[in-house]
């Protein structure tokens, strides 16, 4: 490529639709169309044949029978398919023949800027039009070409619609009431603003009449669409606030979702006025074109010449195209015998053609269809097409002009000899001249064409491939190619992964690596043979190493050549000539060779399809930034793999911890950036990077290709990847499941062990145990069996007991607390066998002893919080823990009250005094004596059984011991220690004694009362003196005895 010339010429050559595009550029870039579908009108029906463009030319212009016939030839195809190019080629072909020039006036109406105004300007510039007899029509066209402001013109168009509707007398489409409502809506300023917004229908119609941007009007249709007329609900509410009632009523029928067919009906109704509006706003009369062409034809007829009219695109005549067609169907016989013979070629998009075809079907002589991909059906043509543009860009216009002046013979076409890029690929013309394909290769052209998302037509090949590639190559080849990063072309995963692996090993910053990899992968997948073969002819992937260096892939070249085994270069494949090879065949041929693994299982096509579908989603996620969808099966498989492949115990993670995670979290162990659901519920999130991309594909293969096995092609590669991935990421999973640093206890396990301590305390199993020495007898024993707390505890103690034992987590806490330290074999969850993890247990016990056996809600680690089972264990025990203070307080208060009550029965004792067992026994003996004397004295009280005194005496030591517990001052004690102190229920032990004391006290009081009443009775009988009656003496003695007993126990 001649870069100096190319920089100047690129815009001239590549802007194929520009009016400035020269014939020499056109001819230098023309590639014949080989397969064109031609339908010929015969006896009222069309017959289709496949013809080349040369055939068509001959059929029409060199056929003795046809060349003097009136002919209307429609050239239809999608936007950019090459209709204009074909019509222009017809023009050039005609012009090349002096006889044609002599016998015909040849008028070519270019697409120009594809606007009515541009078309009129072309017409005005034509000699044939300037010499017209009908000056009025000419004047109107001149007037239509005058410039008025954009806003003024758009308003004119808009109001023209209102005027047309107001004057519409047809009632079939829309009744008068509806029309009035529509006019009211159109007169509403909000609605007007909507229709006149950028890209709206008025803007589009305007741009088809007049546009300042040469490209803007290319594919625009000057019509209303249903979308233009649809009103969303928010807009409707806005309208309701300010529009009048009629406007509101019709607006309601246009609201999105409530459509009853009204929207399409109104849209069609509006479109029925488009032509009229354009004509009225430009000042053109429908008959103007007819008149002008008639005048021209009459004049030519007079001179004995024919007219060949070549219209590249009928939409250039938007607003007057029906008028134009009407002019073109007029023959030159009968009443029109004064007119010359007319052969017209009219280009139209297939879509627009459908709108007028039925009305003109009988008048159309031929219908030529140029399909999308017509240029790409033949690989040779496609490459030749690009090659000719590249060549034209490198040649000055003078060189090409001279070639055209000399007859534009194809074998004489000048070709730029690109010595600078001789190591790049080339294309050999029939003339044997070689055109350098820089900055393309033949593979690149084919692969890029295949990857085009839409419109595989010449215009888009130039716009989307040739132009951006040239611009990039001319500005900075070292960052080439960028324009097609993100495009897709099949490449084996092996090559993609190997390339990623090599780039990962380059000494570049991570961010630069990503860009580098993308650009390199794009280059490899489009430009090369899609291998990473290094061959002894100085090539990589089938193209010169120098090219890689020019593209600044030096590090890659260096790394690849130092790691690869150099292969012997195979003979160069036959370069493309005229062979008609379909692209699909080419792609298959270019597919990479299978990897070097001897026996590969066959893959069921259904499974392959499932994998391919999955891969498409992952590719869209990774390469296009889409959401990750339909990934759950694969995600769950990866999670299962992690659960199963990591030997958790060997990583210092208890299987209890792993089982709780696996049971609670299941597949959500793993999540991915931009997954379409539930990411916030996942434990370990993996970013969208190369490694995650490969991981997803590996397990996609495992599930779909291998049917959940490694029995798929190249599984060893996947094994390397997944084991390496796991090795690199193992610590993340271990950390997430372990929830603790080194050997320390995770919060949930601290909770479980604490819960076991609570259970044992509240069951009275912790008596005589010091919490700071708790060990195997507390933690490595069977679970406590629930027993109701005995009498003697506070209400809060009972409540706490219920809270602890009447909960389904009660047994889960035990299971975890012992399973955590069991070294289990394989994947078993529970086993009868127990082998202690000594060091884990030892550290746990040490930590527990220091813990204070209390839990704070803040202790729960974020990762544990994710795991339902762990969270539930922690919350359950923490809830109990939070109630311990109150329980301890109540229990201590009850103890103190009880102690004070007991102490009150002892003479000269207070709460600080130790109540010895002997003190208790003495008191019991005194009380027993009291009862005996009372009995002798005849006091009417129930005497306790002897066994009771014996029992009380026997329990004196225990009561004394319990008294020491309940008498103690707990104001400075930790809550858990208070709870532990009352674990053995000391109050309960003291209570029988207290009850006994209370009973004795009551009996003493009764005896006292009896004594007083006896005294009163004797006094009343007047016998209360020392010698009045011998019975008195007896009574007095009994009383004296009672008094002494009373005084003793008092």
């Amino acid at each position: 490529m001649n870069t100096e010339i190319a920089k100047k010429r690129i815009n001239q050559v590549l802007r194929v639709d520009s009016i400035d595009s020269t014939d020499s550029d056109f001819l230098a870039t023309h590639v014949p169309l080989r397969k064109i579908a031609v339908k010929t009108q015969r006896n009222g029906s069309f017959e289709e044949v496949i013809r080349s463009e040369e055939d068509i030319y001959k059929d029409i212009f060199e056929n003795e029978y046809a060349k003097d016939e009136h002919q209307l030839v429609i050239v239809e195809g999608s936007s950019g398919a090459g209709k204009s190019h074909f019509i222009r080629w017809i023009g050039a072909r005609l012009a090349a023949n002096p006889e044609n020039r002599e016998n015909n006036a040849i008028i070519l109406i270019r697409r120009s800027d594809n606007t009515l105004k541009g078309t009129i300007r072309q017409l005005l510039d034509m000699k044939e039009v300037r010499e017209l007899a009908d000056k009025e029509a000419y004047e109107r066209l001149v007037k239509a070409d005058q410039v008025i402001s954009e806003q003024k013109f758009k308003l004119t168009i808009y109001h023209s619609f209102i005027v047309e509707i107001e004057n519409d007398t047809q009632k079939e489409v829309l009744g008068s009431m509806k029309r009035k409502k529509l006019i009211a809506l159109l007169n509403n300023s909000l609605f007007q603003e909507k229709l006149m917004s950028a890209g709206g229908p008025i803007d589009r119609i305007y741009s088809k009449i007049i546009s300042n941007d040469a490209n803007s009007g290319q594919d625009i249709v000057a019509q209303f669409t249903a979308e233009d007329m649809t009103i969303d609900i928010d807009f409707f509410y806005q309208l309701r606030d300010e529009a009048d009632k009629k406007a509101q009523e019709i607006a309601e029928s246009l609201v999105e979702g409530d459509d009853d067919g009204s929207i399409q009906k109104i849209t069609d109704y509006m479109n029925s006025f488009v032509e009229t509006v354009i004509q009225s706003s430009t000042g053109i009369k429908p008959g103007d074109f007819e008149d002008i062409f008639k005048d021209i034809r009459r004049e030519l007829g007079r001179r004995g010449k024919g007219l060949i009219l070549l219209i590249e695109d009928i939409t250039s005549f938007t607003g007057v195209n029906k008028a134009l067609l009407n002019a073109l169907i007029i023959g030159h016989t009968g009443t029109n015998s004064g007119l010359c013979r007319l052969i017209s070629f009219v280009g139209t998009t297939s879509e627009y053609y459908r709108q007028f075809r039925d009305n003109y079907i009988d008048r159309i002589t031929r219908q030529i269809s140029i399909h999308d991909g017509a240029i790409g059906e033949n690989k040779n043509d496609l490459i030749q097409f690009v090659a000719k543009y590249l060549n034209a860009v490198s040649l000055s216009s003078e060189v090409l002009d001279e070639w055209v002046r000399n007859g534009a013979y194809s074998d004489e076409m000048p070709v730029y000899e690109d010595k600078e890029h001789s190591h790049w690929d080339s294309f050999t013309l029939a003339s044997k001249k070689k055109i350098s394909l820089f900055p393309f290769t033949q593979n690149a052209i084919i692969n890029l064409y295949e990857a085009m998302a839409r419109h595989k037509t010449p215009r888009y090949i130039i716009r989307d491939i040739v132009e951006p590639a040239l611009n990039e190559a001319l500005s900075d080849i070292a960052s080439f190619p960028r324009f097609c990063i993100g495009w897709r072309s099949p490449i084996s995963e092996a090559v993609e992964n190997r390339l990623g692996s090599i780039v990962a090993s380059l000494e570049l910053p991570d961010e630069a690596k990503t860009e580098y990899r993308k650009r390199l992968l794009t280059f490899i997948r489009f430009w090369t043979d899609k291998t990473l073969d290094v061959t002894n002819d100085g090539c990589i992937s089938g193209i010169s190493t120098r090219i890689f260096m020019e593209l600044a892939f030096d590090e890659f070249v260096s790394k690849l050549t130092s790691t690869a085994t150099v292969k012997k270069a195979e003979p160069a494949p036959k370069k493309l000539a005229a062979a008609e090879e379909k692209l699909t065949e080419r792609v298959v041929a270019a597919a990479p060779k299978p990897a070097a693994v001897p026996v590969q299982p066959d893959i069921d096509p259904k499974r392959q399809k499932q994998y391919d579908d999955f891969k498409d989603n992952v590719v869209a996620w990774h390469h296009d930034g889409k959401m990750l969808i339909r990934f759950l099966d694969v995600r769950n498989s990866i999670s299962s793999f992690v659960y199963e492949a990591i030997n958790w115990q060997q990583e210092g993670v208890s299987l209890d911890s792993k089982h709780l995670v696996a049971d609670s979290v299941v597949g959500k162990l793993i999540g991915f950036e931009r997954q379409d659901q539930g990411k916030d519920k996942c434990m370990v999130i993996f970013p969208d990077n190369e490694e995650t991309y490969k991981l997803l594909l590996c397990f996609g293969k495992w599930i779909y290709l291998g049917d959940k096995s490694w029995g798929f092609p190249n599984a060893a590669n996947s094994v390397f990847f997944v084991t390496s991935w796991l090795e690199r990421n193992k610590s993340r999973f271990v950390e997430a499941v372990k929830n603790a640093e080194n050997n320390s206890l995770p919060a949930y396990m601290k909770a479980a062990m604490t819960g076991q301590v609570y259970k044992r305390i509240l069951s009275g199993k912790m008596a005589n145990t010091r919490l700071d020495r708790a060990g195997a007898e507390t933690f490595l024993v069977p679970d406590v069996i629930k027993t109701e707390p005995g009498i003697g505890h506070s209400q809060e103690w009972h409540y706490l007991h219920k809270l602890l034992f009447d909960n389904e987590m009660c047994s889960a806490v035990y299971t975890s607390s012992v399973r955590y330290f069991n070294l289990i074999q394989g994947g078993m969850k529970n086993t009868d066998s127990y082998v202690l993890n000594y060091s884990l247990y030892k550290n746990a016990v040490k930590e527990m002893r220091k813990s204070g056996f209390m839990l704070d809600s803040s202790e729960l680690d974020e990762k544990e919080d994710y795991v339902k089972s762990k969270r539930e264990i922690f919350n359950y025990v923490q809830n109990v823990s939070s109630k311990i203070h109150k329980t301890a307080e109540s229990e201590a208060a009850l103890a103190r009250t009880t102690a004070l009550e007991v102490i009150s029965y002892f003479d000269n004792f207070d709460i600080e005094d130790d109540v010895e067992a002997s003190d208790i026994r003495t008191l019991i003996a005194d009380i027993q004596e009291f009862y005996e004397k009372a009995l002798q004295a005849g006091a009417n009280i129930k005497h306790p059984a002897k066994e009771q005194f014996t029992r009380l005496r026997d329990s004196a030591s225990a009561v004394a011991s319990a008294m020491s517990v309940i008498q103690a001052d707990y104001s400075c004690e930790a809550d858990i220690d208070i709870l532990l102190a009352f674990s053995a229920n000391p109050i309960g032990k003291v209570l029988p004694f207290l009850h006994f004391l209370k009973q004795a006290n009551a009996d003493i009081e009764r005896v006292g009362e009896y004594m007083l009443s006896e005294k009163r009775r004797l006094a009343e009988q007047g016998i209360w003196n020392d010698s009045s009656d011998p019975r008195f003496q007896e009574s007095e003695d009994r009383f004296a005895m009672l008094l002494s007993a009373f005084e003793e126990v008092q």
Binding site: E493, A494, V495, N497, R498, S501, I502, S505, K559, S562, T563, A564, T565, V566, A595, A596, V597, P601, F641, E644, A645, N647, Q650, E651, S709, W710, G711, N714, A715, A716, N717, V719, F720, F721, V722, T723, S724, L726, E727, R728, A776, L780, V781, P782, V818, N822, L823, Q825, G826, G827, T831, D832, S833, Y834, V835, L836, N837, Y838, S839, K842
Partner: protein
Amino acid sequence: MFFSAIKTEPLPERVLSLCQAVADKAPIEEKELSGIIVPPLLNTAKTSYFKPVFDTACELKLIGYDEAEKVVFTGNKEDIKSLSAFRRYCNSLVFSDNSMHFYRIISCFLSANDEWLRYGSITSSNEIARIIIDETGLSSTNIAKDVLLGVRFWINFLGFGYFQESAKIFLPNMYTALKDFMVLGSIEKGAEYTVEEFLDSLHSGSQVALKNARETQTLNLAMSNALRLLHDNNEIELSNKLDSEKRWKLFPNDEHEFTSDITHITIRKAVKK
């Protein structure tokens, strides 16, 4: 286990636990030790796993008896400080006799490359059983299900690859074991070795993974994966020097930077001792 019958009970972590208890409590009566390691109130199984675990610890020369018949710790406490220290110690010892069943079976696992991947479970595949019998010369009773189940814990622990536990499929990648053999051998940081020199400098236990390697100059999948991962992690640098006399073949992997041939290995990162 390593030099006697292979059993499932002596998991590596159980053996380590017992050794740690002995180191902590020794000298200790065997019965008391049994009560600690297998808490009688929690072990409700008919048999206790204590004995096979105890015997394996003895095989590893980490525990023994003193004159008073009490159990004592006979090893170096540094070797039982952590699971990784214990693993390295085991790797230094358990492959010292290539005639042992344990050695022969592990060697067979590693030389199977990717062949077993498609056979499924190592314990239920007749194909795998047949291959092990053919390769090792062991009888079918010697490779009973329990034997292979027991081996799987150790092959995984010793760092030769991963097991998909429920499917019982072995995924070879001896990254961890190779690092142990590098540490235990005479590999030096910064030095460049030919592949042969590198293998010579590894601890002799690495021989278990090098069956037929020198004759064919081909490394198996487990070793190839390890070398590739070390290279990818920048711990070593593989290279393929065109002018080298001897070229070694890694197990083919067309997705990796090194698809097959290598000639040299340079040690990039310090080998932790």
